[in-house]
């Protein structure tokens, strides 16, 4: 069969990711972690890793296993690896969270949690790198969106390497002066490689292709797109390699971070310029909710960049760094993730349920699987919650932050209900819901019919 096949476990990745997001929002609403306790407290580390590993990384891994083959028009190197990778990453996350909980004295260290977390997460992400890396290698020469993903997964390797060293240090397995200095000065490198490199550059690469596809915009490789790629790559190289070298040479890496930030801001400015160009050059005038919400997420990326510039100018960046990270993780990355899920889940469900019977009778459209008017209000509430939470973080009003987190939680539940309804075909008109030969899809696993 021509084209790229469905990944059987993508929905399971998405379900685990959404579960982690819900758990994080419940904890924030309950007043767990920052801003009630300091940024470096074990409770905050639980929250942060639930979001970036449990929610964003699982979401991105699940999406990459399905859409990297679409980007490069080649099959995934190994479909078989998807389930073991999910198991390793979820088990590694549980061990890591248990490690932080034991660090905070909440649970007894009955197992070497950090060492286990390090082993499981390294194994899981190495398999992700192997599978995606070989898929990309087999598709050379790569177009620009795929090259963003190459740098994204290289940043993942750097993030996981720093994280594994931290976990081994916290677990008392590794030590030494230089490595201990990494724990003190290497944290910004770990965070930037993860949020800006792995999550943001990969999302940028995917959005260059998918947004053009969804909005019927011309997919040209523009000079500004190539410049965004090289500036982003240079920013990460300066932060990861320059920053590490500074630490090894017994110096603080702040200059490297500043240069990296300036290069990164220039890359973001060009990327936003390109996205605006796609939006204006689109042939599809009536765009769907997912594209509109992706544009709102893009506005949050602009807000992150502006906030960094303003806080740098005021000399307040370090003081408000948590607000910047929150805006990047929830406004930009999570906003884009939820918007894309609202497209991907119905699309994959349609392919699974109605693809095999296409041409044999009347089938619904992908848009018949969703009710945009109902979903729109949950997206609006989610983004209002983000704005409220940001304001309370900047003003230091922790009770207000919990109220805003509650709004985000309610909105996320609302969006998840819409995704489940799409998966269950609840909104499809009954006259076309089950044409002969079709079947109701399972919630978490794609049933790929033999052809």
């Amino acid at each position: 069969m021509a084209g790229v096949t469905l990944s059987r476990w993508t929905m399971a990745y998405f379900a685990m990711a959404l579960l982690a997001l819900l758990a994080a929002e419940v904890l924030m609403t309950a007043g767990y972690g920052y801003p009630q306790v300091p940024v470096g407290a074990p409770a905050t580390l639980v929250l942060v890793h639930l979001v970036v590993l449990g929610w964003l990384s699982l979401l991105l891994c699940g999406a990459m296993f399905q859409f990297v083959p679409v980007l490069v028009a080649k099959p995934l190197y190994s479909m078989w690896l998807c389930l073991p990778v999910l198991g390793l990453l979820v088990a590694g996350l549980i061990m890591l969270l248990s490690g932080f909980l034991s660090l905070g004295g909440v649970i007894e260290p009955v197992l070497p949690f950090f060492a286990l977390a390090s082993g499981l997460l390294v194994a899981g992400f190495v398999l992700v790198l192997w599978d995606i890396g070989l898929t990309l290698w087999n598709a050379r020469p790569l177009a620009l969106p795929a090259r963003f993903i190459v740098i994204g997964i290289a940043s993942l390797a750097a993030t996981v390497s720093f994280g594994a060293i931290f976990a081994l240090l916290l677990g008392g397995v590794a030590g030494g002066f230089t490595i201990s200095r990494l724990l003190v000065y290497g944290l910004p490198l770990h965070v930037i490689a993860g949020l800006a490199g792995w999550l943001t550059l990969t999302a940028m690469g995917v959005s260059y292709r998918l947004l053009a596809m969804f909005m019927l915009a011309p997919e040209q490789e523009r000079v500004s797109s190539r410049a965004a790629f090289w500036l982003g790559t240079a920013a990460l190289a300066v932060v990861v390699f320059g920053g590490s070298a500074a630490i090894v040479m017994n110096r603080a890496p702040w200059w490297m971070l500043l240069v990296g930030a300036l290069l990164g801001l220039a890359a973001v400015a060009l990327y936003v310029h390109d996205m605006m160009h796609l939006y204006h050059a689109r042939k599809r005038r009536k765009i769907e909710l997912n594209s509109t919400m992706a544009m709102v997420a893009l506005a949050f990326l602009v807000a992150v960049a502006l906030l960094i510039v303003v806080l740098l100018g005021m000399g307040q960046l370090t003081h408000h760094i948590a607000a910047v990270v929150f805006l990047g993780a929830f406004g930009w990355l999570s906003g884009l993730g939820l918007a894309m899920l609202y497209k991907i889940v119905p699309f994959l469900t349609w392919l699974e349920c109605y693809g095999p019977v296409l041409g044999k009778g009347v089938t619904p459209r992908v848009q018949d699987l969703v009710e945009e008017r109902r979903a729109r209000k949950w997206f609006v509430l989610y983004f209002l919650g983000i704005l409220g939470a940001l304001a309370t973080l900047l003003l230091g009003a922790s009770i207000g932050f919990r109220i805003a987190a509650a709004l985000m939680l309610v909105a996320t539940v609302g969006i998840i209900v819409q995704l489940v309804r799409a998966r269950r075909l609840d909104d499809v008109p009954s006259s076309v819901r089950f044409p002969a030969g079709s079947h109701r899809p399972r919630l978490l696993m794609a049933l790929i019919q033999p052809r």
Binding site: M1, A2, G3, V4, T5, L6, Q66, P69, V70, L71, V72, A73, K74, M213, F214, L216, A217, H280, A281, R282, K283, R284, R285, K286, F347, L348, W350, L351, Y354, G355, P356, L358, G359, K360, V362, T363, R365, V366, Q367, R451
Partner: protein, 111 residues
């Protein structure tokens, strides 16, 4: 093709292809301009050359097989072959006025 071209069968094939809807764009693949060529001869052998909006799209195989299924529903058809081609690549300009209207694509929009 073994026999002479059968214009009447070609028209029937085109009508059949109008029943296959691209799931993403919500309009039939013929008016979307995804069908590049249809030939049919008097022996009932049909050959369709088609494309997709994006190379590598997960729907590609389903669309190809959907086109094949739709053509097979015509009683005169004895054999059908549907080939995928990407040269020339599809562009929105290939859509019929009806498809452009469906997607809210005004003349000059996005130029």
């Amino acid at each position: 093709m073994n026999g002479q071209l059968d214009q009447s069968l070609i028209e029937q094939v085109k009508q059949a292809l109008r029943t296959v809807v691209d799931p993403e764009l919500g309009f039939n693949i013929f008016d979307l301009g995804l069908i590049y060529e249809v030939t049919a001869d008097t022996t009932g052998t049909v050959h369709v050359q088609m494309t997709t909006t994006t190379r590598g799209c997960p729907a590609t195989g389903y669309l190809q097989e959907g086109a094949c299924n739709a053509v097979k529903q015509i009683s005169q058809v004895v054999a059908v072959e549907v080939d995928l081609v990407y040269d020339p690549p599809w562009t929105p300009e290939k859509m019929s006025p009806a498809a452009k209207l469906h997607l809210g694509m005004d003349e000059g929009w996005g130029q």
